[in-house]
Symmetry: C2
Subunit: 333 residues, 2 copies
């Protein structure tokens, strides 16, 4: 019988993890569905850019820049240079020339009335990622970050403003202290077609080692998705993106600090919570350096194991995926 794996994933970390899962299960009778975060999406120069979906698609399709980890291999940035020469903002967004083609196809299709799901499927016809990639939602719901107005100067009580996640992440490199996050439009966002079914019909649901706040957290914020996770008969296993008290990559610490969650493997596990206690986790993998936290995590009602969690190669990542599936156990709970 076909094994069904559903992965909730953010960008780079999620993409690399999916590559490992595909590597592990290649040749087996398995359907992998990846639900991608779209809270990072942004309109840039009239183009609809979906950084996380594209990272997953390019990584699994063999087109990702191995050097940068985002965007396309053999990329040039001539259009970006020229936009800057025109003095048109934003100048800080990494819009590559090859990448622009993806955004042009997406934008014209969206403007013609196709949904983001349709467009993602069409783009994947070219990339053949070997998984079914679906956005968390076809509706616009973009993460904004509440910060002190960076243009306020030395005012004693600076105004708080909400800037787009990408502006915070890329332009300010997450260095402006975040007071919180606001996902504009999330109340009215519906899960994209297939998302709820992929969770309900899965044999295993995996939370990839992505940012718990602005990647996985955003997917969980889509009305209906958390309920589907509560209801599914599939075990839900997560992999800690925090190793030894620091994010493996990215700036998850800044995001966790903003919502008052400790940047530890146990802190994130507690934040997600045990399914038995109203949370979403049945099992949680931590890195071997965090082995001492397993007892604390099991005390929360979450099965836990400590294994190497550095995605240094598809093989290493496949071993992580195997451990996750093993710890999650079979579907019958």
């Amino acid at each position: 019988m076909t094994q069904r794996i559903t992965i909730l994933a953010g960008g780079m970390g999620g993409a690399r993890f999916c590559l490992g899962v595909r590597h592990l299960l290649m040749g087996s009778d398995t359907e992998i569905t990846v639900v991608g975060n779209t809270g990072d999406d942004i309109w840039v120069h009239g183009l609809r850019v979906c950084p996380d979906l594209d990272s997953i698609m390019y990584t699994l399709g063999g087109g990702i820049s191995s050097e940068r980890g985002w965007g396309r291999e053999a990329e040039t940035f001539h259009a970006k240079e020229e936009l800057a020469a025109y003095g048109v903002e934003p100048t800080w967004f990494g819009l590559g020339d090859r990448d622009i083609a993806t955004h042009l196809v997406r934008t014209t299709s969206l403007n013609a009335g196709y949904s983001l799901s349709d467009v993602t499927e069409a783009l994947c016809h070219r990339w053949q990622p070997g998984v079914r990639l679906i956005p968390m939602s076809d509706d616009r719901a973009e993460t904004h970050v509440i910060v002190d107005d960076p243009d306020a100067g030395d005012a004693e009580q600076p105004l708080r403003v909400a800037i787009h996640f990408q502006e915070w992440w890329i332009r300010h490199r997450a260095s402006l202290p975040a007071h919180g996050f606001s996902i504009v439009g999330i109340e009215d966002a519906r899960p994209a077609p297939g998302v709820i079914d992929a969770i309900a019909g899965a044999d295993t649901v995996i939370l990839s080692p992505s940012n718990p706040v602005v990647s996985i957290g955003t997917i969980l914020a889509v009305p209906g998705i958390r309920d589907a996770l509560h209801a599914t008969t599939a075990p839900i296993v997560g992999l800690s993106p925090i190793i030894g008290g620091a994010p493996v990559r990215g700036m998850a610490d800044a995001c966790l600090a903003a919502i008052g969650v400790p940047t530890t493997a146990a802190g994130v596990a507690e934040h997600y919570g045990a399914r038995s206690a109203g949370g979403i986790l049945d099992a949680w993998l931590v890195d071997t350096v965090d082995a001492s936290a397993t007892a604390e995590i099991e005390g929360l009602g979450i099965a836990c194991a400590a294994v190497p969690l550095l995605m240094t190669s598809p093989d290493a990542t496949a071993r992580m995926a195997a451990e996750a599936l093993r710890l999650a156990g079979p579907r019958v709970r």
Copy 2:
């Protein structure tokens, strides 16, 4: 007193001619207004592309590819390659990566409600072409070519279809016999702000050596422009784009054949017609190889002179412009 020169211009030939006029008049108290053809404009992959305006802007702004004569210097075509890899038509349009930045700025501005005139002025802030560049119209009016359906196979009486000028010009390299031209939307197009005033207030109006059918002819087809040419007190002088029975560049012969005009310097002069006989020309410059045609042209009521008309350098082109101004004579007629 400021001398006012108004030039009607198409793409490459028009751009090079304008460069010569600017070269000639640099340092003098002269205002040059260039009315650019927009009948070649096209939506490509959701981008609004204005080939003639951009050729003029890039040429006068020092950004044109000297090798190709169109598009940007140091250009790459990575987005174009990727669009082809996605299988998205059109694949034949020469969309360069640097060039795309111009189209993105234009498209977002147009979509935000700015007029093409506004956008062109804004783009020229960067390029500083040294002339005032205005589109013939802010309204969409795109040239289509009536051809036998190229997909009809060997049918005895193939259906006639109208394809976009760019498809005919670039994809088919003007090799499909044209039965005629149709400028879709031209009936409702209005001259852009400043066009009529630039013609009425000029000291000299010059028809650049551009394609008489699909460049100059399109400008003349905008309701109101031909009347303004009839009414202006400025002399109107044209330069023949046909030398020795062939176009200097481009495929004007295919266009002229389609409307039954001989591909000769005299043929084009007669097509434009003498202002005294309801046409638009007071004077017409032909190349020295066509000197024998001057008597025939003068017989039409058009002042004529034969001078070298090859735009081999800005200096050579400046000499052509000087001859045109000399032949046109002063404003008082």
